[in-house]
Symmetry: D2
Subunit: 350 residues, 4 copies
């Protein structure tokens, strides 16, 4: 029998739940032992309950696993949560109160002051907020979250610049893939040959999450980073991969070479610790004039790296560039998984 750590997945049938299962198939530390989804799926074998939308096959170990009720009883200690925000707001606290480590991809609790919002390469120290959660004291349980799929790729590219030069202002315009909306998600009649210049609540999430992620842990809360942040979010007819046109202002003047070096030399804790899902290079600068592009670059670093390209001067802020990040790997399941790996490395999953 395996001596891997058993983990459960809340919301296992959705697109992000499927990515969790796919990414955990050969994980060296964790293995899926419990799956939960909506009432409709309860009691059915996973392969029947889920409308599997990934290119690799459903792992054999999971295909016949029965979908459990979405309740703490019987669930393993570690729970990956891929729930809609409304349900997450209710279920995640319940699991934390019951002593579970809830590693959540949902937006429900991200901005709650005692809930860490974490990208391991960026602000792993924020994990200590866990200790401020009442659940932690009472049952040992807690909630850790990762950011929105459009935020995370951006913040990976911003972090080395913020550390090295300081950020004054960041403007991000996104062209987001349809998989970011889940399944069935975006209707084909809405997006074939079209651009939709609106994604509900997305701009607000990007703006506030970016500032929390790059903010400073201050006792029982995070002081948001004080730079100005403005987002405009668009949906395009791409399957996977959020592309973003960025403009930003730095505190300290920097040359293009210095900026590219900051990205290239970005080798933070998860890479030093060689966490299993940490990409060797979290930010990859591409020199071709027309890259990154979703078709070619979305899987860089097994979907865990942010690709950056087209660094050039801006006439309003200092610099412009393009980023690309895989929205259901680095932007969702992979983000939570890397959080779990960091938690384990730091002794929070003992």
């Amino acid at each position: 029998m395996s001596n891997k750590i058993p983990v459960g997945i809340l919301g296992a049938t959705g697109i992000v739940g499927q990515r969790f299962i796919q990414m955990l198939e050969r994980h060296p530390w964790f293995e899926v032992s419990w799956l939960a989804a909506s009432d409709r799926s309860e009691g059915r074998p996973y392969a029947e309950a889920a409308r599997w939308r990934l290119k690799t096959a459903i792992p054999a170990a999971v295909a016949n696993m029965k979908v459990s009720p979405a309740q703490p009883a019987g669930a393993p200690k570690i729970i990956f949560a891929a729930l809609d925000a409304a349900i997450a707001g209710e279920l995640e606290p319940r699991f934390a109160a019951a002593g579970h480590a809830v590693i959540s991809n949902s937006s429900a609790l991200r901005m709650q002051s005692d809930v860490p919002l974490v990208i391991p390469e960026v602000n792993g120290d924020h994990i200590r907020l866990i200790e401020k959660q009442p659940w932690r004291t009472q049952s040992g349980g807690y909630v850790v979250t990762n950011p929105n799929c459009s935020t995370i790729g951006l913040v990976l590219a911003l972090a080395p610049l913020h550390r090295t030069f300081g950020l004054e202002a960041v403007m991000a315009i996104t062209m987001q893939a349809v998989s970011g909306a889940g399944y069935p998600g975006v209707a084909s009649l809405d997006i074939l040959g079209n651009v939709v210049p609106y994604i509900a609540k997305e701009e607000e999430k990007m703006e506030e999450e970016t500032q929390k992620l790059l903010g400073t842990l201050n006792g029982s809360r995070v002081d948001p980073a004080p730079f100005a942040m403005s987002a405009q979010c668009n949906r395009v007819a791409v399957e996977d991969g959020h592309t973003e046109s960025i403009a930003l202002q730095l505190k300290k003047k920097a040359s293009a070479e210095e900026i590219i070096a900051a990205w290239h030399d970005f080798h933070p804790e998860p890479q030093q610790l060689r966490l299993p899902s940490a990409p060797p290079q979290p930010v990859i600068y591409l020199t071709a004039i027309d890259r990154p592009q979703p078709r070619f670059d979305v899987d860089l670093g097994a979907g865990m790296s942010t690709a950056v390209g087209r660094l050039r001067k801006c006439n309003i802020l200092d610099w412009k560039f393009t980023i690309l990040s895989h929205n259901t790997i680095r932007g969702a399941a992979g983000a939570a998984l890397l959080n779990a790996e960091l938690l384990k490395a730091k002794g929070y999953l003992a």
Copy 2:
């Protein structure tokens, strides 16, 4: 026999040339009497020479017209030019020198100091630059240009704000349709399920053309408008219609209501003159939260209006909004046609 004014089309077989033919089919003032294209097409009936890519049929009057050599001899006085920049730089001056009124959609001469770059709703007065052209004195000929397809929709939306409140800074991120690259243009392998974050020379054109269009005629040249302008250009899998995410800073503070009123009340000279191709409302503000979208809004004002939506506060500059404009109608053939109508109204085609 018709007593309409005969016009010729240089570059008649391309996508923009086709739009000229389509838009001139029932024009009250002009009628196509001459078509020229590359050597390969010369002498062939138009319907054979062109790979017609529009949804309406080739006008009967044009289908059997023989394609002429691209030389002034035999061409009518008024020439619409839809040539690639490299060829335009050579042919347009030759036609102007031979006494033709060259109404050009090409980028070749747009930024030349004595060549007017005109949007009739915005800077019709710049037409007077014609008088500074040596061709005008020598042969009566001249060149008038319209801006790039990604510039024109934006400047229509900017003009009323610039007049009313003054512009300080404008940031534009585009998501451009494939028809903007002509035919065959963008390979399907490059754009299906993809975003390409680069269009050669497009950002430079948007930045300098916007400032010339909103600049001030000063004797024999135009002083560019002094606001900062920054563009980032992306190609998306849309057939027709450039969508742009805009952020801008105004000189004079304005409320959302005042800005929308400025767009709504924008009723400049072409509309007052009721020029045949002038849309009743050049800028249309849409109140639905997720508009404009190419699928639904690209044909507003018969493709000659700019659709605007999602006006909201920006955390860096003052305001953010989305615009959409038809890139081969308002952004190309329709732009030149409206220029021709303005020229006629002002007596330059007599």
Copy 3:
């Protein structure tokens, strides 16, 4: 006040309901006076209740119309029904029993022996089946149906061949547009860059409906046409327009010229009667080697004609060709509307 005939729409908020409203906006005989949809929409103004997905604006006369409960009380005599099959099977008989003329686009009752399945150009005489319906005797009400969106374009092309040469066997392979599945319908994750070789119940519908449509009225029932019919249905990433690759065997040998002439000369009753929605030419043969194509040809005859092309010899059956038909105009709302026009012309709406 208008002296047009008031009509109601059951299922007014869906894609087909929207097409009804669009096509009835300027109809010379009918005008929309009543709209019904699901309980959720009841009592709300139409413009709020419907997620309008068409390119033209919601007609002003309809935008503020309140959505009524889906019950006969208060509904006008003539009802266009655009309901899902499950609901149609329950509601349509109820309206017919209450004395309404139900002109239905649903599949629920199409194959019922006393319900006419009609394409006015093909089998207008089948309308007489109405007299066999018990509702007709009891209340004057009745149900008339039109075929499935993938059947109707095909049968328009088959009918003149069947009349002139006789059909022995017909094989149809479809490439169907996403709008055929309604809204939200096909998820973008299912169809972007993909082909789905399955549409539930579609092949069965095509096979049995084709034989009923080309069958012979025999007292109180229709004897299905005795030729063999086989369909394979695929979904592709097209917005509007079902393309079909056809192969068929004729009873009487025919040349390509004779077949094309049969299509060209097809000028049946609706065209002779000049019914308002009857296209001047129901079947249009295109000679270009690579047509018909949805992008260019879907709107032929205002979306009411079937486009045919590529007639050539088949090594197994006699002939092969390609057809294209607009699936929500000729294939749904326009089909029902033309049925209503025929009913009126024949005195069934008096």
Copy 4:
């Protein structure tokens, strides 16, 4: 230094040339030592000369390789040819005459009576035709070809049925990916939201190649298989993967179970020999009702298997089903590579 067999690629910069390079990167027997392309590319490093369109990076060993002139001098003994038919017709005989083993993906010589057209799983014995080629006698050189990308997946599915039950008639309707047309190939304006029901010469190729592949070697020629074959070819907006709707008639009656068993048990020579590029299972039957689909199934067997699904009765011929095959792997580069492996196994590359 490597003791692998050096191979050259003619037409190395195109889409199929790129696939050759990608598939040969880690090949156990062969390694790329020579690349040739058009004059324009000659002398330039490959990474500069090719517009690389695959998702994996250009292999380091190839990136800096200089592109050679397309002449036999200096080329290795074994040549993979990925040339346009017109050029292939001239160059391939020249290389064969100079003693090279030309393993060609081009259509130029496929139907020549002394040139084997081979799918190793289907008709490996046809390789003996090589001995009838004049080049073979004179210089030791020869040409072996693989079929068209739309033929090969189909014939893999047909072969076990032909062997077991005999084929009477086969009707194939294709929905082909854009990569089949090379790069730039299909213009995005031609295929976005569209179906193109015509691919030049494709139907003829499918019909005659299928009969040659399933034909019988008879001395110095192949007697084509005597069943009737009819193809209709369509282009759809899919990147990779040709989907085909098939109907066929068998000589010997068979049940669905027997047909599926014939596919499942198909384990021909390349699989028995464990040729490196032979997929473990050449034909994979999928039981899900809506499969195969390009999005999910195109990479089965590393792109070398044909996926089959939806086997069901046909009202005209006996059976209907859907197939899917990767058009640039199994349909082009992988086909030639497997031919080379078979040639080596049979001693033709010594």
